[in-house]
Symmetry: C2
Subunit: 356 residues, 2 copies
DNA sequence: CTGAAAGCGCTAACAT
DNA sequence: ATGTTAGCGCTTTCAG
């Protein structure tokens, strides 16, 4: 079960040198397996065996074929290969191009998929490229399962999609039937942040939420609930925000105009928190001296050395690994599950004792 | 020549509803063209004609087949399709997952490719996924040409790659032979920034450079040259930086420790400038009152409403469009060219008159 | 306007 | 250990 992957890894290593005998390049034709077989004086089947790194060829032949393939600049045609195989061993991933957290997830999905012998095919969502378009591209690639990062699709769309391809939605909650869900426990995550701040002596705590974004309501509710648990429901403040720096900045500016602004802010995500921090810096507020800030996601933005944001980590690696596992389970015919991962608070430098 | 694309667009629109007759889902099998043909009582050839939207079927048949395909949830297998076609009509794109500017470029490459009837297949580079790995994946997809965003490959690697597949490198200069290059004029771009600042009365101007990053030396040279042109070579200051917020922050902190810090800073890119701005805000420096800051790329980061960064724009859309054109030219057999686009200064809110 | 048949580059039985 | 053969799902002549 491991051999094909090893072979792939090997092929990756081999530096793409090209020999003098390299043949006609420049026209659009690339060498095929038949070309290699002809040059080596063997059958294509043997070449196939060698290229896949499966047993069934003598060491001498293996070496020779490898060398010839290399000289010819031969690269196996993935399309033909997958077409022939009954299962494509392809996982489709739809993600948002400008969301740093999605970048983190994609990176780990690549390796989690590779570890299980799958290839990850990614398809982006952007302002000018809808999630539908992105997902349709995946469908045409005949992926065995689709992984949707922070999907914004409606429940009906998701259910409908799930009928066509095993679907797992990552990092958001959904009621859509038929889809698997892998997400962090948003309620618990926000509670972690609240507990942390309350322990530091904060009372007036605000939450700049994700507005209509997926996961937003869970976090909002979790916030109110946790505040209530501490008897702080009256000093809990929820402000409409969003997923961007802009939303965070606007929310924070609004809060600063208050007669008595909060001493701590929990933002919907790290991007939002970045906007918050920026506004505070510009207004000469010391963080965490005057006001504490907590982000969400533990994305690249939170880890920037001079930022060192306290944030709730969903552990992208675990999320990605779990999502891939869920996708393969689905593809293997098991029924969709909702897997909720426990988030963890990463205490860094943007939170501190409440000002007295 | 336009029809196949129209058809594709249509297919994208059609919402993925599934009928009651939808048949066996859940096992790994998706309907094939043969299934549709059988259900419609026609040949697969006819179904193919309809699915591609090419002329050769009566309106009635077309409607009927479309409906049946829809009901069955049929999606053409892209792999089989491309395999059969002589030219794959696929463009490979390698990009960096965490670089906002690459996100902008990728978005526009998608649409530029679609406009010319090509499909863009993207492959990411990340800390745990090398550019080689990323490019190899593209090669296996049999793309007709590869577009490398801000590639970090060595000239020999690029030349070697170019022998295997038409290659265009975007947004960096390279001496590698055989590859096409589409980039902004970095020397001119930095000069634009310098001229702008000098016109505002700045004399002590620093450049936080890109260290070893591609394009870095051009910008550094352009900076010194432009400063020299204004007789300011003695107050030109080059600081080692990098492509990240961290690099910018470190550079700026270093500059603030000077007995007489510069009144303006030109950062290597927007991410770097973001780090600079952050440090300035934390130190209570007013931008642009005390110090002006210029970024580079006009990426998402520069456009954030409360940031409004003055920056040098490489016009991602034009860059992407030109790169796609260059890729197709190459694929069509024309010889590689270097295309240098003229950058443009976008004056926003982070630059102003030098403090007196 | 519609259908039959060949084959894209590869893999997987099955021979030898 | 190596070769032969038959397709994967689609497009594309070529006939009807």
């Amino acid at each position: 079960m491991g051999e094909p992957e090893e072979a792939r890894a090997e092929a990756e290593q081999r530096s793409p040198r090209t020999s003098a005998t390299g043949g006609k390049r420049g026209n659009g034709t690339r060498p095929t397996m038949a070309d290699v077989a002809r040059a080596a004086g063997t059958s294509t089947a043997l070449v196939s065996i060698v290229m896949r790194g499966v047993p069934g060829a003598s060491e001498a032949t293996r070496q020779r074929i490898m060398r010839i393939a290399d000289e010819l600049g031969y690269v196996p045609d993935q399309r033909a290969r997958k077409l022939r195989q009954s299962s494509s061993r392809v996982l489709g991933v739809s993600f948002e191009l400008q969301q740093p957290f999605h970048g983190d997830l994609v990176e780990h999905v690549y390796s989690a998929a590779a570890q299980r012998g799958y290839e990850a095919v990614i398809s982006a969502v952007a302002p000018s490229r809808s999630e539908m378009t992105s997902v349709n591209a995946l469908l045409r690639e005949r992926c065995e399962a689709a992984i949707l990062l922070g999907s914004g699709l409606e429940p009906e769309e998701l259910t409908s999609l799930a009928r066509r391809v095993p679907t797992v939605v990552v990092a958001r909650h959904t009621d859509a039937s038929g889809v698997a869900v892998v997400r962090g426990d948003d309620t618990a995550g926000i509670a972690l942040a609240v507990d942390h701040l309350v322990a530091l002596g904060h009372r007036r705590i605000a939450h700049i939420d994700g507005a209509g974004a997926p996961g937003s309501s869970d976090r909002r509710l979790g916030f109110l609930e946790a505040m209530g648990r501490h008897g702080l429901q009256d000093s809990a403040d929820v402000i409409a925000g969003g997923l961007t720096e802009t939303a965070g900045a606007e929310g924070m500016r609004y809060l600063l105009d208050r007669p008595s602004p909060p001493t701590a802010v929990i933002a919907f995500n790290d991007r939002c928190a970045t906007g918050v921090l920026d506004v505070l810096a510009r207004h000469g507020r010391d963080v965490p001296g005057d006001i504490s800030v907590v982000g969400y996601d533990d994305s690249r933005l939170a880890k920037i050395p001079h930022v060192q944001m306290t944030t709730v980590s969903q552990n992208p690696e675990q999320l990605a690994k779990t999502a891939v596992a869920a996708a393969l389970d689905l593809a293997a015919g098991r029924s969709p599950q909702e897997i909720v991962l426990t988030p963890r608070l990463v205490e860094r430098a943007t939170t501190g004792p409440a000002p007295s």
